[in-house]
Assembly symmetry: D2
Homo-oligomer: 208 residues x 4
Amino acid sequence: MEIQLWRSILCPYELAVKELTVKFEHMIEEYRENDRYSPIEQVSGRVKSVSSILEKMQRKHIPIEQMETEVEDLAGVRIICQFEEDIDTVAAIIRKRTDMEVKSEKNYLTHIKQSGYRSYHMILYYTVETIDGPKRLQVEIQIRTMAMNFWATIEHSLQYKYKGDMPPHVAERLSKASDAIISLDHEMSSVRNEIMDAQNSSQMQSNL
Amino acid sequence: MEIQLWRSILCPYELAVKELTVKFEHMIEEYRENDRYSPIEQVSGRVKSVSSILEKMQRKHIPIEQMETEVEDLAGVRIICQFEEDIDTVAAIIRKRTDMEVKSEKNYLTHIKQSGYRSYHMILYYTVETIDGPKRLQVEIQIRTMAMNFWATIEHSLQYKYKGDMPPHVAERLSKASDAIISLDHEMSSVRNEIMDAQNSSQMQSNL
Amino acid sequence: MEIQLWRSILCPYELAVKELTVKFEHMIEEYRENDRYSPIEQVSGRVKSVSSILEKMQRKHIPIEQMETEVEDLAGVRIICQFEEDIDTVAAIIRKRTDMEVKSEKNYLTHIKQSGYRSYHMILYYTVETIDGPKRLQVEIQIRTMAMNFWATIEHSLQYKYKGDMPPHVAERLSKASDAIISLDHEMSSVRNEIMDAQNSSQMQSNL
Amino acid sequence: MEIQLWRSILCPYELAVKELTVKFEHMIEEYRENDRYSPIEQVSGRVKSVSSILEKMQRKHIPIEQMETEVEDLAGVRIICQFEEDIDTVAAIIRKRTDMEVKSEKNYLTHIKQSGYRSYHMILYYTVETIDGPKRLQVEIQIRTMAMNFWATIEHSLQYKYKGDMPPHVAERLSKASDAIISLDHEMSSVRNEIMDAQNSSQMQSNL
């Protein structure tokens, strides 16, 4: 497939990522303007690179005609939360929205991957308006804490280096780091109520 | 009304402006990716400032409870086109979209304002998702050529200076400049077909 | 030359364009914050595309070792003014700055190109800090009014279409449009003093 | 002091923050383009809010005439690194640059604050060009890992809530979280060499 055709196929996914990034980033501001604690801390997004798409299609034996249905993460949005508890809140907010529809969810928090990977994944249907009319496409949302994100960034670099053949001593260190992150997230959760209180009291004050 | 309350009221309008700016700007890229001539050249947007809102409410005797319905340009998006003919194209595209609904249109091209002002205005209904659920609000879209925009910028500065009391010799100069712009836009329109052809042929070439 | 090497060579030029865009755009805000008329209306920038660089090197017989010295517009910044008189002001501001040095200037306002092209060009030396230390490079600055820019955009599209072989009837129309733009810019200049006054009086008021 | 005057004073600091953000963010891209490991992961910046400036001046008994010399963090830039070792690298890079000069440094990594706060701080002299000529001003740079930043964000919220009067049980939890973060950073450092190697080998490959 030529680069021109790829661009043309991925163009609506670019738009979906831009729109969703704007929408979730604005939520942070909206909570702040209303003096409420924001369950979202940071948002980022990307369209999958052509080389990553090809690699995934080959690995999973996906024929070209089924790319848009089978490669569910062509468009990806990552939402970073301060606390583990915020992840559920964000997922619940997404389920309620009228401008997107949940196709499926995967909970890698209760079902930690063998590598140590933890995150909450949702596949959404989302409609963008193209120059040829509306197009409904799929977007993957990853919701995680800063600490989980930190670990995932490191793990991704190492996976890339070893291409699926990580030496046991490296895998072990990663696993230990994952444990350190779980205990950090728990430690942090224990101060969460304090921070929520802080936000609520400042909100009440401003509403007097 | 306190500044905090203003911010909270205008917050969904900020979101509408951001979303619409992203959507219209992406259209430019989409035309380019598909090797087609884009009827949109530039997009900008703004939420009306509190002082301008207050001034308008006073001038038009709008009570505070009717602000959101009567002040139709709380959210404003400006679309700049290369050629006068593109203005109709853009208006037609907007009418067809499924994510916005046209409330009313005003054609200041066929009905030039006495000052010389020319533009195409549309009031749209547009729904944004807030933290309290979906909210349907009004947005004003102004569609004009670069030349019309140039004139409007100058006229706005002078109106601001003279606060509705412009001396005749200044008004006359503005009016002459408006004539120069009309003839420039016509001159430009006469080369538009050439440019459209250029785009179409390059598109055909890339589709071979 | 491989794409990787191109990227690595052009990387400091990307930085120069970003820094200069930030600097000139901030000037607009600075004038506004100080309630003064800004001679700059809009700023944009780009690094020349690899295909345009190759085309220019071939056309001008520039060997690869002399690319960075001979292709003076690898980095380009365009400054748009409201009025023709502002162009001189902007050029004078640039000459005075301590963070850039003027290599040469070309005045296509007094020496209009045969095509009708009008603009003020400056080639600057500008130093960016790279990961291997400071690097002094060249940047082209184009200064023009909105009307001149409008014409240049159209002319560029047509040149691209006809690849240097424009039919006489098109060239004639372009030339007429260029005349319309000159008379528009003059018409506009006649209201410039009014606008400058407006800004000055509002400044004085705020300084009382 | 009026809001207009504040804006005018802080305007050059806004510019400094914008320029430095562009410069440090571009370094990330430059490392990537050259297939090298980037010691910088993320950059953000801000100008201190007027209310925070006033609060600091009152707390530290700083007279208004000495604000610009004594409040060293009017402009602040935060640099986030993946690993603790990267902090030294970034500090060394800053010391070598020709476009900024180090005034002082504070190492809260070797001298952890009682609260548990860890970061590397530098005060720089940096010159921006204003419409009245060059102006040399101070900027504070904070360099920290993602984990340190995570902790600092939480601690800041709690300090704000308790206004310097944090209950012992909250302070204790924060301190435990700080320990968890130190051990996480150490765990991560143990895989750093693996990641550096990964980057170097991919770099060598692309240079063959």
